[in-house]
């Protein structure tokens, strides 16, 4: 490596670290402009997320964040060598095209698996950059050995950066988190998409296995840093963390996926932040921290909504695939008879109501009944009925999923209530209509300490005057628990396919 190259490398590549380590090299105007651009980009990300407080401003917020990203990318290209531009452009266009096609084609019901996949791509990208930094530094060290006459200051600067133990630890951590996010997300996406069984697959000595893999990965990082960055140590970490991602995700049941997807979201952010530590890039650190915090908060919200600890979700191996078992439609397991209603009865009661709350579960989406529901709601609104939707946090397959599905069916967002808002309104409702939901409306969670879902926050539909439950059969929900709501005095069961039932009810109302 020539002296010139070494200086160029020092002044352009190692912006943060070398600015301090080698003041002789100085900071070029370009790198200062670049850092300012990263600062502005970070501000734009924060302002963008801030606008997600309301659906009114959210779309602008997304655009602002995208502008921040564009700025960061352009600023980075300021110091790129001309010879590297073609390759980068091809790679960027390829990725952009794939992303654009995926974003345009995905159905809203498939959103969880796509977000999972994107989490994985973010993770692997960060791990690849970390690996690339290692390869680049190895080459740099080799270059110096070949050119021993390099100026002392530059040698010192480059050596301190390329052999720094801290940097090597960060390279290892970035790869560890990135690989776990990558393989874990692939498994999660496969489960959500039905390529892999949604059932929790309990591995032998699962906890011990995961701990062993994590410790092994960390030992790999330790050896990598201690021994001056040998490739085999890094390869060990890559392999073990890749396996860890799989073994962490495989035991998670389909219904617990909202938690796992949120957690993987968090990992993809943390991987980006770890990569930021390697190259001292504040834009990566800030953005990674924002995403890491976001994923973590959503994880906690999802766990609370199921009244379970994160450890329980991750290691208990419950949360089976959706129950599809056919059961009797005339009585519950306890033998108490259920009261049934047909479409005409339902229509009459709905029409005479003043306030109606719909409580959708994922069964609504499975039956593709969102549009039929909205049409019924529109007709009721025309007849002077106040309509609202109570959406439980785990009603969909990822945080906020049901809200998106309803928005897609043209449900106005003002009508979408979260669990607290819904429970504040429910007692004033003449009718609550549960569609394809089960455990999230089971009153046993409030008083039956023997119930496995005791303590889980629910939408208290049983406090409405009349409750309609649209359901295929009396089959239990995913927790495998009988629902006492179905045999309550003010509950009427309407059996059948949700879409079909809603259309019949709508037709009946129009005839009134």
């Amino acid at each position: 490596m020539s002296i010139l190259k070494a200086i160029e490398y020092g002044s352009l590549h190692m912006t943060g670290a070398l600015a301090q380590a080698a003041p002789q090299a100085g900071r070029s105007v370009m790198t200062t402009v670049q850092d300012m651009a990263y600062l502005v980009a970070s501000i734009l990300f924060i302002l963008g997320i801030k606008r997600l407080r309301s659906p009114k401003t959210a779309r602008d917020g997304n655009t602002i964040a995208a502008a921040g990203m564009a700025l960061a990318i352009v600023a980075t290209l300021l110091t790129a060598s001309v010879s590297s531009l073609v390759g980068m452009a091809i790679a960027a266009l390829l990725g952009s095209a794939i992303g654009a096609v995926m974003a345009a084609r995905v159905q809203m019901t498939q959103m969880p698996q796509m977000v999972a996949l994107f989490n994985g791509f973010g993770g692997i990208a960060s791990a690849l950059v970390a690996g690339g930094e290692w390869a680049s530094e190895r080459a740099s060290a080799a270059g110096q050995q070949a050119a021993p006459a390099v100026d002392a200051a530059v040698t010192h600067a480059t050596t301190s950066a390329s052999t720094s133990v801290e940097t090597q630890v960060m390279i290892g951590l970035s790869i560890l988190i990135g690989m776990v996010a990558f393989t874990g997300s692939l498994v999660a996406a496969g489960k959500l998409n039905g390529n892999i069984s949604g059932k929790p697959i309990v591995l032998p000595a699962q906890l011990a296995l995961n701990v062993a893999l994590l410790v092994g990965s960390l030992v790999g990082i330790g050896l990598f840093a201690a021994l001056g960055g040998p490739m085999w140590a890094l390869a060990l970490t890559v392999a073990l963390s890749a396996i860890l991602g799989v073994t962490l995700t495989v035991p998670i049941g389909g219904a617990d996926m909202p938690v796992m997807v949120s957690l993987l979201n968090s990992y993809s952010g943390l991987a980006a932040a770890a990569t930021g530590f390697i190259i001292f890039n504040k834009a990566l650190i800030v953005s990674g921290a924002l995403v890491g915090a976001s994923g973590l908060i959503l994880t906690v919200i999802m766990c609370k909504a199921m009244n379970r600890s994160l450890a329980n979700v991750l290691f208990a191996g419950i949360g089976t695939a959706d129950s599809t078992g056919a059961a009797s439609t005339t009585e519950s397991a306890t033998g108490k008879p259920v009261k049934r209603a047909d479409a005409d009865d339902t229509a009459i009661i709905l029409d005479s109501a003043q306030r109606v709350m719909f409580v959708p579960g994922y069964g609504l989406a499975v039956a593709q009944a969102q549009h039929a529901l909205r049409e019924l709601a529109d007709e009721l609104t025309r007849r002077g009925v106040k309509v609202m939707y109570g959406v439980h946090p785990v009603a969909g397959r990822m945080p906020g999923h049901m809200n998106v599905l309803l928005a897609e069916a043209d449900v106005p967002y003002e009508q979408l209530l979260d669990i607290d808002q819904a429970n504040a309104e429910i007692e004033q409702c003449d009718v609550a209509m549960v569609i394809g939901a089960n455990d999230v409306v089971n009153p046993a969670t409030r008083h039956d300490q023997s119930s496995p879902i005791f303590g889980m926050p629910i939408i208290d539909v049983d406090k409405a005057q009349t409750v309609f439950v649209l359901k295929r059969s009396m089959a239990a929900g995913y927790a495998g628990v009988d629902n006492e709501l179905f045999v309550a005095d003010n509950t009427l069961m309407v059996f059948g396919d949700a879409k079909d039932t809603l259309q019949k009810v709508l037709a009946a109302i129009k005839e009134l």
Binding site: H13, Q20, F45, I49, R53, S54, P55, A58, R59, N62, A65, M69, T79, A80, S81, M88, A91, L94, S96, I98, G99, A100, A103, M111, F118, N119, F121, A125, L128, V129, G132, E133, S136, G143, E166, N265, S268, T275, F277, I278, I279, F280, N281, L284, I285, S287, L290, V291, G292, A293, S294, G295, I297, M398, P399, G400, N403, V404, Y413, E414
Partner: protein
């Protein structure tokens, strides 16, 4: 621990707190767009990939260059796909 790393750590921890404040205020209705949008933001790692490929030794070092180029592809899927799908979703949220 060198000073650059220490400053980075400060930035990281403070940004975690900012993120916490910001995201607590996002309503449940927007949690899915929040996830897909933050996903796109985590594609910021593309900046690291571009810096790797565009500057320094990666131009000569084959392995670093290829790792960087692969990272650009993955990160750009995230960036473009993430922002585009978020916009698509947010367009659907309408008032009465």
């Amino acid at each position: 621990m060198n000073e650059a790393l220490l400053i980075s750590l400060f930035v990281f921890v403070l940004a975690l707190f900012v993120g916490n404040e910001l995201i607590q205020k996002v309503p449940q209705t927007l949690h899915t767009p929040l996830m897909s949008g933050s996903n796109a933001i985590s594609g910021i790692t593309v900046v690291g990939a571009l810096a790797l490929v565009g500057t320094g030794l990666a131009q000569q070092e084959g392995l670093a260059r290829w790792l960087g180029l692969a990272a650009i592809v993955f990160a750009m899927i995230n960036v473009v796909g993430g922002f585009a799908v978020t916009d698509r979703m947010l367009r659907m949220f309408r008032r009465r």
